[in-house]
């Protein structure tokens, strides 16, 4: 169901005959992937290519006393064993800070540790050999002498005076702190009829992309150029960072990104082992391949969400929420991740708590501390699941206190759909959201009242079902406000070049990247629609810094909204250029012509005038037949970045229907619903599948996923048998609905949809579990909601 756009004229360019916009169109790249004929970095081989294996620290914190690699170096087929000190001659260290995150500090991080290791899994040496297996054999014979140091593991103790400081030069273990105080919080709580508070605990988890991180670095000393084949979401960022730390010009680095086996934010960062691989290629003058194995992935892919957040909410008897207050603490590992920093998630939590609601009274503190665990950084829906779980958990708690239905209290407090534009207490500016429309749609989709009746009936049979609701807001289409203003050379704009080739086909180069979201498809859909060309004639090129315009890539739900608009604008220019030259050829005027179905037609009656193929033939091969002074330009390039709003916020609401076996603590997910508003929908199927995939990542967090560290900083479940990802057997069917409020920042009107599912899923499940457990008086504010946690809360064990 669609809410009509405020300005129906805006979309004319996309509403043309044969438009692909808003239609389900299969992605052009699927066939290759389904036949096993994709090209992932892990598939790549180059002549003389060597394989690197990193010897990794078994200790969370230790001094490196010595490294003896004599035996390893002697082994057959071993090319080199390189220590951190040796590698530092070709690559410089980095510090993961940004100036707009005031006070954020971190220490220099090396590609390979030099004197000290700061987490279990940090590389201490690189072993390069002709095969991965041989390199692993050799790595086993490298002897490293360590002097173990005290490890800082519990984030709650990281700031205690007696806790060792991980980086003494920084003075303490506090990486970042942000405080916010908006409205009159104390007065609001004082005037509240009820106040609820809770400590919310979130398990540390990680992305578990099915293809591990992989890179092939190829330094061609003759060309003085480094080619990096990498599964990355941000090729130009990788180009810039690699060049910067290897002492090269950006133009000496080419980053190529073919098929990528999952990203979710895991592959948008600069990892030490990837930097080491670039450097090794330079040092050894040959291609070097690094593919993390699964254990390495768990130990080194960024982790996320390890937060403890104390939350408080006040409410009037009539359900009016008076104030929110949070105190968030998160441990990010020993370094702030480069270059996006590890302060963003806590910062987002501060930004987003209370976001869907009207109250202006909000106080927040967030502290980010160092610890000797793997690094944490941005992973899908950065901060959203925490903010949403805290906000929605508090709303349910306080609703319960005043005996109000969870839906009713939300309806009384969600920002009205006609109140936009407006701003949140944390300063977020909302252009147009649709919380109430979304909630109404959700109620219809899920049959809320009937489910409540069913729940009541089942309770009499000692069967405990629960309903959980979670409204949310979502950050998409980030402008330079995200990273650029802090000094990061991470582009927030994207570019698209479109050209009509000599046979009337279209080649389109875009700076956004594809990891399965459908970037290629949406670009082709937009270009095909605007140009009047069928999609199979549009070929999209992406993921190559030599062959695409400069841009940010695909992350933070920006591909469709930013890259899509650039495609639209570029296609409009090309269309104009095509019509200009067609008018010349046809001795007509551009205004009288249109392009439909790969041919120039008379706009008024659609009668065919000249095929694009024929037009292109004339332009490219018989320009001599055109009048003097006419030069056709069948290529156009446009860039786009949102300027008015720092972020295009979207909104939505999720609901979860679950059963708790109160004997065993097992939760069964029965059904899940999502209504979201991402503005203009380019391809409904792709949007829905983004939402579903995102929901399941959130469901994993809610029930299963947790990186379990022991008190010595050892990750104890770094394999897929012990780290539980969501599998098909336990996941529910998910119904997805939409409300459409296009952004007026772009002609396309599209906002992002990549975070929405993950943002609210865990909150909905946690609320549903608490709803199911209501008769038992148990309240749980911790995820994952394992049987152990639930049985404990029920007092059964």
């Amino acid at each position: 169901m669609t809410v009509a756009s405020a300005n129906p004229d805006r979309l004319t360019v996309l509403d043309r005959p044969n438009s692909y916009i808003g239609k389900v169109v299969p992605r052009p790249n699927l066939e290759r992937l389904m036949q096993g004929r994709g090209l992932y970095v892990s598939d790549m081989e180059l002549p003389r290519m060597a394989h690197v294996v990193f010897l990794r620290s078994p200790h969370a914190h230790a001094k490196i006393i010595g490294i003896d690699a004599v035996e390893a170096r002697r082994m057959p087929n071993v090319i080199a064993v390189v220590t951190g000190r040796e590698l530092a001659t070709v690559i410089t260290p980095w510090v993961g800070v940004l100036s707009h995150l005031k006070g954020l500090k971190s220490a220099p991080q090396h590609a390979i540790a030099i004197d000290r290791v700061c987490w279990q899994g940090e590389a201490v040496a690189a072993v390069v050999a002709t095969s991965r297996a041989v390199a692993e054999d050799a790595a086993e014979s490298v002897r490293v002498e360590y002097q173990e140091l005290d490890a800082v593991t519990d984030m709650r103790a990281a700031l205690d005076p007696e806790t060792p400081v991980i980086h003494p030069s920084l003075g303490d273990n506090l990486a970042f702190e942000r405080n916010l105080d908006a409205g009159a919080v104390d007065a609001a709580f004082a005037e509240s009829d009820e106040v609820a508070e809770a400590d919310f605990i979130f398990g540390r988890h990680t992305g578990v992309t099915l293809e591990p991180r992989a890179v092939v670095a190829d330094w061609n000393i003759a060309e003085q150029r480094l080619t990096v084949y990498q599964g990355t979401q941000a090729p130009h960022m990788v180009q810039n960072i690699a060049a910067l730390h290897l002492g090269l010009a950006d133009s000496q680095v080419r980053v190529v990104c073919k098929d990528v086996g999952g990203s979710f934010g895991i592959k948008v960062h600069i990892y030490a082992d990837e930097m080491a691989t670039y450097a090794l290629s330079k040092l050894l003058r040959r291609p070097v391949k690094f593919v993390a194995d699964r254990v390495e992935s768990f130990n080194t892919d960024i982790h996320a969400r390890d937060h403890r957040c104390k939350g408080r909410i006040g409410v009037k008897r009539d359900g009016t929420i008076t104030a929110f207050e949070i105190d968030d603490l998160t441990g990010i590992g020993p370094y702030s991740m480069y270059p996006r920093t590890s302060a963003i998630e806590a910062n987002q939590v501060v930004n987003l708590v209370g976001g869907p609601y009207r109250t202006k009274n909000y106080r927040a503190r967030a502290r980010v501390v160092f610890q000797n665990k793997n690094l944490m950084c941005q992973y899908r829906a950065v901060g959203h699941p925490i903010a949403c779980s805290v906000t929605e958990g508090l709303v349910d708690l306080v609703a319960s206190k005043i005996g109000m239905d969870p839906v009713e209290i939300r309806r009384r407090n969600l920002i009205a759909d006609d109140a936009y534009p407006c701003a949140s207490p944390s300063g977020l500016r909302f252009e147009q959201l649709s919380h109430h429309a979304a909630m109404s749609k959700l109620m219809t989709m899920m049959g809320y009242d009937a489910l409540r009746a069913e729940q009541t009936a089942l309770r009499k049979k000692n069967i405990h079902h629960g309903i959980g609701i979670a409204s949310f807001i979502e950050v998409t289409n980030p402008s330079a406000a995200f990273y650029g203003v802090g000094g990061a050379r991470i582009s927030s704009q994207d570019g698209v070049a479109v050209r009509l080739d000599a046979t009337g086909s279209v080649i389109c180069q875009t700076s956004i990247t594809e990891q399965g979201q459908g970037s290629e498809s949406l670009t082709a859909q937009i270009v095909g629609s605007v140009l009047g060309v069928s999609m199979e004639r549009v070929r999209v090129i992406l993921g190559d810094t030599d062959n695409t315009p400069y841009g940010g890539g695909t992350w933070a739900s920006r591909g469709a909204g930013i890259g899509g608009e650039a495609a639209l604008q570029a296609a409009k220019i090309l269309r104009k250029n095509v019509l200009d030259i067609a008018a010349t050829i046809l001795q007509s005027s551009p205004a009288e012509l249109d392009i439909v179905n790969n041919a120039v037609v008379t706009a008024s009656d659609g009668s065919p005038r000249i095929e694009l193929r024929e037009l292109a033939r004339i332009v490219y091969f018989r320009p001599d037949t055109l009048p003097p002074g006419i030069q056709a330009e069948l290529m156009a390039t446009r860039h786009f970045v949102p300027r008015e709003y720092p972020f295009a916020f979207t909104n939505g609401v999720q609901a979860s229907w679950i059963e708790v076996d109160t004997d065993t603590g097992f939760v069964k997910l029965l059904k899940h619903w999502v209504v979201e508003d991402c503005g203009t929908i380019i391809n409904p199927q792709l949007v829905d599948e983004q939402i579903r995939g995102g929901v399941v990542q959130g469901l994993g967090a809610a029930l299963f996923e947790k990186c379990i560290y022991d008190e010595r900083g050892q990750l104890t479940n770094a394999n897929m048998a012990d780290y539980l990802v969501p599998m098909s057997g336990e996941m529910p069917d998910i119904d997805v609905g939409h409300v459409v409020s296009p952004t007026t920042e772009s002609e396309l009107g599209a906002k992002g949809a990549g975070e929405a599912g993950t943002a609210g899923a865990a909150a909905a499940v946690a609320n549903a579990v608490n709803d199911a457990l209501k008769p038992f008086g148990a309240i749980i504010t911790e995820i994952p909601l394992t049987p152990q946690v639930i049985l404990t809360a029920l007092g059964r064990i």
């Binding site: 299969p26 992605r27 790249n29 699927l30 066939e31 992937l33 389904m34 036949q35 096993g36 004929r37 994709g38 090209l39 992932y40 892990s42 598939d43 297996a133 992305g207 578990v208 992309t209 099915l210 293809e211 591990p212 098929d259 990528v260 086996g261 999952g262 990203s263 979710f264 194995d293 699964r294 990891q515 399965g516 979201q517 459908g518 199927q685 792709l686 599948e689 579903r692 995939g693 995102g694 929901v695 399941v696 990542q697 394999n719 897929m720 048998a721 990802v725 599998m727 098909s728 057997g729 996941m731 069917d733 998910i734 599912g757």
Partner: protein, 161 residues
């Protein structure tokens, strides 16, 4: 005896003679020796299902089988199943339903789904979910995959007399 051993087998219907080290697993043999890179490696300890192939008509985790164990066997990979047209309808259903995003799990998922469809003509959604429960997909949330397999099962039923 750690030296390479000779093996003879059939891969996607073609005879293959090779010398392989005992420690080489079938996934790496397919990918590195035969360049059949459609068989993906996701965990190398038998949990993720990305490396699922068929050996003598039955699905196996190719990371949990040694190449030397395939001596005399018939191995089929996603490339073979695609070229023969055996799973063309299943692939079409995956395409129509967008039952893949990054595509890394897809070859293993297709092999596992075809295995179910060969064994049961009318699996319900729960059976499909159960049969695919050893194949990890991080992108889709599984529903589209279940839909595509269900659609294919129904279509194949309809085609039968």
């Amino acid at each position: 005896m750690t030296a390479a051993l000779p093996i003879s087998l059939e891969v996607n219907g073609e005879p293959v003679d090779a010398h392989v080290l005992p420690r080489l697993n079938l996934a790496d043999f397919l990918r590195e020796h035969l360049k059949l890179t459609g068989t993906h490696v996701g965990c190398e300890h038998g949990v993720c299902g990305a490396c699922t192939v068929r050996v003598n008509g039955e699905t196996v985790r190719s990371c949990l089988m040694l190449a030397v164990q395939t001596h005399g066997a018939s191995v089929e990979t996603i490339e073979g199943l695609s070229d023969s047209g055996e799973i063309a309808d299943l692939q079409a259903a995956f395409r129509d339903r967008n039952a893949l995003q990054c595509g890394f799990c897809t070859p293993g998922m297709l092999v596992a789904a075809q295995d179910l469809l060969q064994q049961e003509t009318e699996p319900d959604r729960e059976r499909i979910r159960e049969h695919l429960s050893g194949n990890y997909c991080r992108c889709t949330g599984y529903q589209a995959i279940i839909d595509a397999v269900e659609t294919t099962a129904r279509a194949r039923m309809g085609r039968k007399p």
